[in-house]
Symmetry: C2
Subunit: 238 residues, 2 copies
Amino acid sequence: MLKEVTRFPDHEGCETLTKLTLDYLPRDGSLGTVRRYRRGMAVWRPDDRADSIYFLLHGQITVKTSDARGRETNLRVIEPGEPFGELCVCAEKTGLRETAAHARVETELIEIKLQQFIAYLHKNRDAMMSFLFTFCVRLTDTERRLDMLMHRDAQERIARLLLHLASRQRATSTQRVSDIALQISHDELAQMAGMSRPHVSVTMGKLRRRKLVRYQRGRPLVVNVPSLKSYVLAERSE
Amino acid sequence: MLKEVTRFPDHEGCETLTKLTLDYLPRDGSLGTVRRYRRGMAVWRPDDRADSIYFLLHGQITVKTSDARGRETNLRVIEPGEPFGELCVCAEKTGLRETAAHARVETELIEIKLQQFIAYLHKNRDAMMSFLFTFCVRLTDTERRLDMLMHRDAQERIARLLLHLASRQRATSTQRVSDIALQISHDELAQMAGMSRPHVSVTMGKLRRRKLVRYQRGRPLVVNVPSLKSYVLAERSE
DNA sequence: TTCCGTATGTTAGCCAGCTAACAAACAAAT
DNA sequence: ATTTGTTTGTTAGCTGGCTAACATACGGAA
């Protein structure tokens, strides 16, 4: 149990820690309820009370906001093992979600009432520590997306987004390869990068010509991490 | 000690929780080192190892990144009582900061080595729970900034940024007033919103003409929270 | 095969926000 | 009172990304 604690400051396998909390939860059904959702179904809607936390078992969830004009933006994509719908998603103490979460595919998850979850953490030190680490990683994750959005050049923005997605993906792979495959459409990239879909296609085309990514119709998007990274870090002074 | 735990799900005074962890730390000097910084001094630089966590006692800290072109963007402003330089600011397990933190004014803080801090949390359940809540709040905070950056209309973007800053500020005020005063320059707003300084000035001028904010040279910026909020939420369909 | 739905490629025209450059207003220091 | 430094106001181009619209390619269903 202490292994992760002492290993953490060395920053090994940070991303994998995100999925660790689930291992500390009782699996005898005493905490939370297992629920299933089919593709497209809503896990929560903007006006729902934010009094539950979820852990994704199988499938994939997207968390989105939409503004007054109906423009949708993708705030997060949840992978199996990750917690989501966290505590204190409280905008202005109304305790409402203000976001929408939908199953992207056939999905199974555990829903736990916040009260119960907090009570459980209170009794279980290791689970709490694990959960704390999970949040640290998520915070870093979110701050990197912030960093990405601060860049206004399309190529740099997309490049950073792809690197970000690749580093999350890499956590699940066993070996450290330079080519990471992502299953994501241009439309979804557009929603994550805050760009229009056509311009994402144009920008992706440029990156493809530079051999920084590979993709074709129907084939997954393959990101060459080292090349992309050196592209992002390169001085483009003029 | 349990008060905060049970109160949390009701989302009362969420923001104030951010500054709560400090109260749980031993003040006898047994944990961490007190350090002082003068205006402009660096707390850490991009290549420093990220093996400490900090708690701000007095003053103000800004955390920034700068890209290859030298463009600086403001990632966060730290207020007294808040922790910063969190665990796992580990980009690619190098364990480096990749950001720069500077004192904006005369500043005093506590620096604690991560190893020691984690060991302390491990022994002190209430401190850990408090710290966990702090992170939840910070995560929500960061996700709101994400949301703000996803909007490309300048007025909406600045409006959302001001609301965000105001809601953090409001935590320190005793009463719930509609007018919140902020001490921030157009240049800093530009760095937080990912916009150019001139266009921030233009946009702020528009908001001022709409009576959503008040400000003059040398006077602090006063944000009318309800008006701004209704402006942001209003349908601007055409 | 054919049809349909969805993802990607591409272009023309427009416009919001950028850069650059300078002016003005004030504060603090001399 | 001057000087210096800092912040804000403002404008004239310019450009990058947007919208809209359509073309193309592919997968799966019928």
